[in-house]
């Protein structure tokens, strides 16, 4: 069990109802954590459409999580 910080933006922030939270999890990867949170909070976007960032850098879906990481799940972007 590790403790990580999760930040939410855009549709995920609205579906979660808050912008950040601490999570205790046994998920080993960013993708596994997203799937866990999707179940718990009813996120509509499938994991395949989400990218992840850890400590303000993009990471792969299979990137391992470490104690204290700050994780952002990134919905499909639409700048401009």
């Amino acid at each position: 069990m590790i403790s990580v910080a999760v930040q939410y933006f855009a549709i995920l922030r609205e579906q979660r109802g808050l912008a950040q939270e601490k999570i205790a999890t046994t998920a080993g990867t960013a993708e596994a954590l997203y799937d866990e949170l999707k179940q718990r909070h009813g996120f509509t976007l499938p994991a395949a459409r989400i990218r992840a960032a850890v400590n303000d850098e993009f990471v792969s879906a299979a990137a391992p999580l470490r104690e204290g990481d700050r994780i952002v799940f990134i919905p499909p972007v639409a700048g401009g």
Binding site: Q7, A10, I11, T44, V72, I74, P75, V77, A78, G80
Partner: protein
């Protein structure tokens, strides 16, 4: 320089910062909030950014443009917050000795920024509905699923 701005900004002043006597060409792109998307009347827009990574990724795109094209300067500023119809949402300016590189690099920067920089757009429709663009899932606002480039 890639920047996010919570306030409206003056593109003419930005363009002056690109002044360079070696430059024969300056190409700019402005993205404006338009009154409809995929046929639906739009009333206003919200942009939300994941700031630290948006700026890092934006700077990476500008560095790539400098590597790919013989340009002299490149700047991109993206608004965040609630914007009204006609507002300037994003500004890209590129200078080069010759116009081909300036056009190509400006196009590259806005294409990549729209695809890669973590900024999200929420449309407020005249009907009162809202939608996060590109974030719809099957059955929900399917029209907003894959909007054309704008």
């Amino acid at each position: 320089m890639f920047r996010l701005s919570a306030e409206s900004f003056d593109p003419a002043a930005l363009q002056r910062t690109l002044g360079d006597q070696r430059a024969g060409a300056c190409v700019t792109f402005e993205g404006w909030v338009r009154d409809r998307n995929e046929g639906q009347p739009v009333g206003s827009l919200e942009y939300e950014a994941y700031g630290p990574l948006a700026v890092k990724e934006g700077e990476r795109i500008l560095a790539e443009a400098h590597g790919k094209f013989p340009i002299l300067g490149a700047v991109c500023i993206h608004r965040v917050g609630h914007l009204q119809l006609g507002d300037l949402a994003v500004w890209v300016g590129v200078t080069a000795e010759h116009r081909g590189a300036a056009f190509d690099a400006c196009r590259y920067i806005i294409d990549e920024a729209k695809a890669r920089v973590p900024i999200w757009k929420k449309e407020h429709y005249a009907s009162g509905d809202t939608a996060w663009i590109n974030c719809a899932t099957k059955g929900e606002h399917a029209g907003a699923e894959a909007p054309p480039p704008a």
